[in-house]
Amino acid sequence: MLFRVDLGSPVPLGDQIAATVRGAIADGTLRPGERLPAARTLADSLGVNVHTVLRGYQRLREEDLIDLRRGRGAVVTGEQPPARARLLEGVQNLVDEARALGLSDEEVLSLVRTRLAGG
């Protein structure tokens, strides 16, 4: 898979790394059970701090897209990750657009809640 990060962008590098992996899972480039490169190796390749990569991986783990285990590295989880990754990308887009419009967090949440209540 292809990792791309823009060193000049205001988006934190860890989030950029997470976004690339999410995209690769969403479009099927990364399949369930596949292993991500070790954090240290990837950090060396990109020329960034290893903690930056780990922060990105941690974020993916919180989204249940990957399993992180000591000694086994980062592995894409087995449960419907492509669909889940696409959903998470959608959420990210929603947040980005809401921010661009100047909506507050509470306004975004209430928009989503109204939608959910309306079925």
Partner: protein, 326 residues
């Protein structure tokens, strides 16, 4: 097609022949010395040449036959299957002749020293025999190398095409990485290791350590991670970043990708042919690098097109940066 098949058989026969001859020689010596051989043969020797391992006389011929004919069979199978890799064939012929001489010599000299001693425990194998066996193997292997000849140059591939690019913004870092597995190497590695373990338990021939080591190396390399980053291309076993093979951006002229058959690259594993080295794990998508020296490096890996595009972009960026620095 018929011509190719006939040639393949002939090549297999040429490679198998030295093993059959070595086996016949061992049989002949065995028959000639039969009456003078003790019931227990000294078959393993310590660093001083003193016997320290013994095998029943009855086991000697089966082990010798298995070892020699099986090696011959493997070599023949390899020769039969390598259709278009003259460099690899030449190496194979040299290896086959050398190995046959080495195995034949050691078996015969074992019989000889046993026949000359009164008791198996008194048997010694002077170390110069070992040196001589390697020298003889080297010499005969070299003759095989010369006899095999250079063969035809590898059939040449599509000519110049502008390599693909992957546009990168200024200040953007990109890394491409993919793992590639080889069922062939995995099976071969596990099989060789098992053969070594079985031999170590059943009979002490001195070859088992080598078999186990070779088997484990093959198994370890049966899954690799290929990475393209700001430093160039690197290939390492998937479970550890080292040892690794690295080709820096400065050494790369251009990268392309296309489908390739394992046999057309010289077989599985790390193959060296005139003008080209290749890491072949399977048939299919492969990354081809043209180096500044004019040589070629190939590694078989999925999604090689993206890898080639990124490499070309990075090489270009590296050239510009180096140029700007002076």
């Amino acid at each position: 097609m018929e011509v190719i098949v006939t040639r393949a058989w002939r090549r297999a026969a040429v490679v198998a022949l030295p093993f059959v001859l070595a086996w016949a020689a061992v049989l002949a010596v065995y028959a000639a010395l039969r009456d003078r051989l003790p019931d227990r043969l000294a078959t393993h020797f310590g660093p001083g040449g003193q016997a320290d391992g013994f095998t029943g006389l009855g086991a000697f011929l089966p082990v010798a036959t298995t070892l020699l004919l099986l090696s011959g069979l493997i070599a023949a199978a390899l020769a039969y299957r390598s259709l278009s890799a003259p460099g690899a064939q030449r190496m194979l012929v040299a290896m086959a002749y050398g190995t046959a001489v080495l195995l034949g010599y050691l078996h015969i000299v074992t019989l000889w020293v046993n026949a000359s001693a009164a008791r198996a425990a008194d048997v010694t194998l002077p170390l110069w025999h070992l040196a001589l066996s390697f020298a003889a193997a080297g010499a005969v292997g070299w003759v095989g190398w010369l006899l095999a000849g250079r063969g035809d140059a590898p059939a040449d591939e599509p000519g110049e095409e502008a390599g693909p690019r992957l546009p990168l913004a200024k200040g953007e870092a990109a890394v491409w990485t993919h793992t590639v597995g080889s069922p062939v190497l995995a099976v071969l590695g596990v099989g060789t290791t098992l053969l070594g373990v079985v031999l170590a338990v059943a009979a002490d021939t001195g070859a088992e350590t080598a078999l186990i080591v070779i088997g484990l190396i093959s198994a370890a390399l049966s899954r690799c991670r290929v990475t393209v980053d700001r430093r160039g291309l690197s290939v390492a076993p998937w479970f550890t970043p080292r040892p690794r093979l690295r080709i820096s951006l400065g050494r790369i002229k251009e990268a392309t990708s296309r489908e390739a058959r394992a046999l057309s690259l010289g077989g599985w594993g790390y193959r060296i042919q005139p003008g080209r080295s290749a890491l072949v794990l399977r048939s299919g998508d492969a990354l081809f690098l043209r180096l500044v020296t004019g040589k070629e490096f190939v590694v078989t890996v999925d999604d090689a097109a993206t890898a080639a595009a990124l490499l070309n972009t990075l090489v270009e960026r590296d050239r510009t940066a180096t140029g700007a620095r002076g």
